[in-house]
Amino acid sequence: MIDRLTAALTASRADYTEIRVEQSWGSVVTMRGRRLESATASEDQGGFVRALNRGSGWGTASFTSLDQLAAMVARADELSRAVRLERPIQLAPVPPQQAEGILDLDGDVRGVPLADKKRLIEAYNGAMLAVSDRIVDTLATYRDEVTEYWYVNSEGTVLHELRPEVTLSGTAVARRDGTIEKGLESIGLRRGWHSVQDKAAGFRATAERAVQLLDAPTVTGGTYPVVLDPELAGVFIHEAFGHLSEADFVYENPQAREMMTLGRRFGKPVLNVGDNGAASGLRGTLPFDDEGTPTQDTALIREGILVGRLHSRETAAAMNERPTGNARAISFRHPPIVRMTNTYIANGRGPFADLIRDLKLGVYACGAFGGQTMLENFSFTAAYGHMIRDGQVAELVKDVVLAGNLFQTLDRIDHIAGDFRWNQMGGGCGKGGQFPLPVTEGAPHVRIEEALIGGDVPSPA
């Protein structure tokens, strides 16, 4: 394959050409309630060519038929030449890389029969159903994929990798009369079959939570001191801050650039944030990004001050900064764009108890059903929450929606515990029509002095 790709590169007339080819084998087994919804194995393959010429823009071609490789290289060059630019696109230099990367497959999923995968997810699904007869519906999915990946560019980079991925997810729906509550469990790893054994406890706990939420009151809406658990804190930093640190948002937008000037204070000195694509064994981890740039640990906020951002080669050159290995594509169907990898709030100090000790009334928001940021505003739906009363974690509450303004909220983070953990979840990040990109988030418990919690919604019909 490498020979085929380098031959195609040599034939390209463009000033810069890169080719990515992927071949993947995947399987998905889904249980719904007591039934198997589907068990399928799929094969996907294709390539992506990107060409750039002086004074021109990007030309790209994506295709599923590898017989078309030569024609697609020519097409990408043609398209590039059709896009005339006044200000040329520059690529920040990255030394050519040659690497053969076989990530730890940890029990290659391709050798495991579909029937065994079904038995595994059936057991986890069964663990949710066994919790209570209030569990009226479940959805449990096992998903795996191994991708063989080739990347070459006209600057001499040649990469060949085998990338594994395995995810488990479970939804438990509890119902009593008109009240419906749910719990979500999600595990995602860049590993294989061995790493998803013995996970029933998490699925059971998820279903138990859904049942408990049936009796939990809706949180009273209002402004509170809010403590985020590591999962929600991780989702928060990814959604609310991480996307703004992606340089493609700022590099050609003077006003955005001003808003995100390095050196600007974003938080109190306790706040340290980064993105680490080279962290060991996480879902967002890869040795190189999809431009052949080595991944790295990039500091974004240090002691409250904005110190860095995430780059592709193009955005780095435009801003006179260094590439950070964050140009990623979800598959050969898409071009690489600036994305996060494993984004984190760095560890603080002391136990969780220190965060709530002096709170008379507050909200402890846990887990995430989802989160969305739009511009400087965000909204996160916690999976559940507890009231904090007189320095103690008190009753379970539901419908905890955290909403606010990013800048105000980051600035109100006043205490970070020393209990950091990575949240190894499935799902992924979406941007520019590319979803789901495997990413990981990590954080310790984080306290926000004051934040708006939504609630008080009229009860369902």
Binding site: R32, R35, L36, S38, A39, T40, A41, S42, E43, Q45, G46, G57, W58, G59, T60, A61, S62, F63, T64, M72, A76, L79, A82, V83, L85, E86, I89, L114, A115, K118, D137, V173, R175, E181, G221, E252, Q255, A256, E258, M259, G370, G371, Q372, M374, L375, N377, F380, T381, D399, V401, A403, G404, L452, G454, D456, V457, P458, S459, P460, A461
Partner: protein, 452 residues
């Protein structure tokens, strides 16, 4: 082609078994203008096949993009069928019946102008928008995507159909960042044909008028207020209803509408129809992805729940009939999905997107103090199907004495759609396509608005 695959299946399968398959070939050309300038052009050529078998009463599915240059070459067909049979071995029993051959309705799904449009023509469309949307202190992104897709679907019962779809999607958004105030206003139009100059001018007007009104920032009122949801802003209100009308949710026992067919659940002025035969829409097609001929399905008529949407499998489980809503990708099995949803009195609109009317669709007049919601944050998160929602606004305006007073930034709206839709205080005269939905603005009363 899938004929070879089905022929192979006929030889391998036993009496009482069956199979169906879908092949789709897509060619896409896209042009992107980023932050005010043309930046990239790209093509995509994709092909894939999805096959489903019913073997000994069990269903199995497999998909692949390894289809070779011209259809499923023999060497690809056999392993694909093997994988589908392996999938069926694990499958649950189900009484699935593949539809027999039937006459297909005629529907216009493609336009030669769109299929033949050159790259230069697509760039021209983008430049037209860019020039008209440019303004001091703002940045403009424009994306044009043209797609030609050939779909062929067939089964071992002899039913089959094939059709070509063209689609042109034009989207533009204007960003304005002033200090820490970030504002982005966009619009998208989509059709099987190239957009007319009128339609493009409509995009410019829709963005410009919302931008002009947004420059002034005002504080919202609080409490239970009259709120106008624009066609784009209606998502949070309609999503629980469309989820509840899916046969799949009914089967799972999580739809609040499951037991309410024939009941007056909503205001008389609320009708919902899913129509796969609307001319000029990219979701229109003569038959669904399971060989069921297309027809319009009335889901809610004058507030009364009529029926749910089904694909073959959910219909078989619910002991009902498919409504022709089977949708399948290359990987995975078919699922029930909507095509073109029409809100209101089910007038089938003409092709293309209409020129947008005045913001608020004439509903502002009688409002002393309220809100106009065009975009919310977090729609689709959380427990949607129950009907309760609570979202911060992404783009909303305060209405005072019948006029837009300015943009509201830090506000959240909440309510329960099953309560709110019992009474609709007004339907706007601004019906348009917003994604897959054709809808006017709706005025709902008693929506909870909170400031923060």
């Amino acid at each position: 082609m899938i004929e070879e695959l089905l022929e192979l299946a006929r030889r391998r399968l036993e009496p009482g078994d069956g199979a169906d398959a879908l092949e789709r070939r897509v060619e896409r050309t896209s042009v992107a203008f980023e932050w005010g300038r043309l930046k990239a052009a790209g093509v995509t050529e994709e092909a894939g096949v999805n096959v489903r078998v019913l073997h000994r009463g069990r269903v199995g599915v497999a998909g692949t993009t390894a289809v070779g240059g011209d259809g499923v070459a023999a060497q690809h067909a056999a392993p694909l069928l093997d994988r589908a049979l392996a999938s069926a071995e694990l499958g649950e029993e189900i009484a699935l019946a593949f539809p027999a051959p039937a006459k297909l309705p005629r529907v216009a799904t493609h336009g030669a102008r769109a299929a033949d449009a050159s790259l230069a023509r697509l760039i021209e469309i983008g430049s037209f928008l860019l020039e008209r949307l440019a303004r001091e202190g703002c940045q403009v992104n424009v994306a044009i995507e043209r797609e030609v897709a050939d779909t062929r679907v067939a089964n071992t019962a002899g039913a089959q159909g094939s059709y070509r779809t063209t689609g042109v999607a034009v989207s533009a958004d204007v960003w304005r960042i002033a200090g820490d105030d970030v504002l982005a206003i966009g619009d998208t139009i989509e059709s099987t044909d190239l957009p007319s100059e009128d339609a493009l001018a409509g995009v410019v007007r829709s963005i410009t008028s919302r931008l002009d009104h947004a420059l002034r920032i005002v504080a919202p009122s609080e409490g239970a207020l009259p709120v106008v949801f624009t066609p784009a802003g209606l998502s949070a209100v309609l999503l629980p209803v469309t989820q509840g009308l899916s046969g799949k949710a009914v089967l799972q026992g999580i739809s609040p509408l499951a037991t309410r067919v024939g009941e007056q659940v909503f205001d008389q002025r609320l009708s919902l129809t899913d129509d796969p035969l609307v001319p000029g829409r990219t979701a229109s097609r003569p038959l669904d992805d399971e060989c069921v001929p297309s027809r319009a399905t009335c889901l809610v008529e004058r507030g009364v729940v009529q029926r749910f949407i089904y694909d073959l499998e959910t219909a078989a489980r619910a002991k009902s009939a498919s409504t022709g809503h089977g949708q399948r990708g290359i990987f995975g099995k078919p699922v029930p999905a909507y095509t073109n949803i029409i809100v209101g009195d089910a007038r089938v609109p003409g092709p293309g997107s209409r020129v947008p009317g005045e913001l608020g669709g004439g509903l502002l007049k009688g409002i002393k103090d309220g809100l106009l919601v065009d975009d919310l944050i977090g729609v689709g998160q959380g427990n949607v199907i129950g009907g309760a929602f609570s979202h911060p606004v992404a783009l909303a305006y305060r209405i005072e004495r019948g006029e837009i007073a300015g943009r509201v930034k830090d506000a959240a709206v909440a309510g329960n759609v099953y309560e709110l839709l019992k009474r609709i205080a007004g339907l706007g005269n601004d019906a348009r396509w917003a994604g897959a939905r054709f809808t006017p603005s709706l005025l709902l009363e008693g929506v909870s608005v909170a400031r923060r």
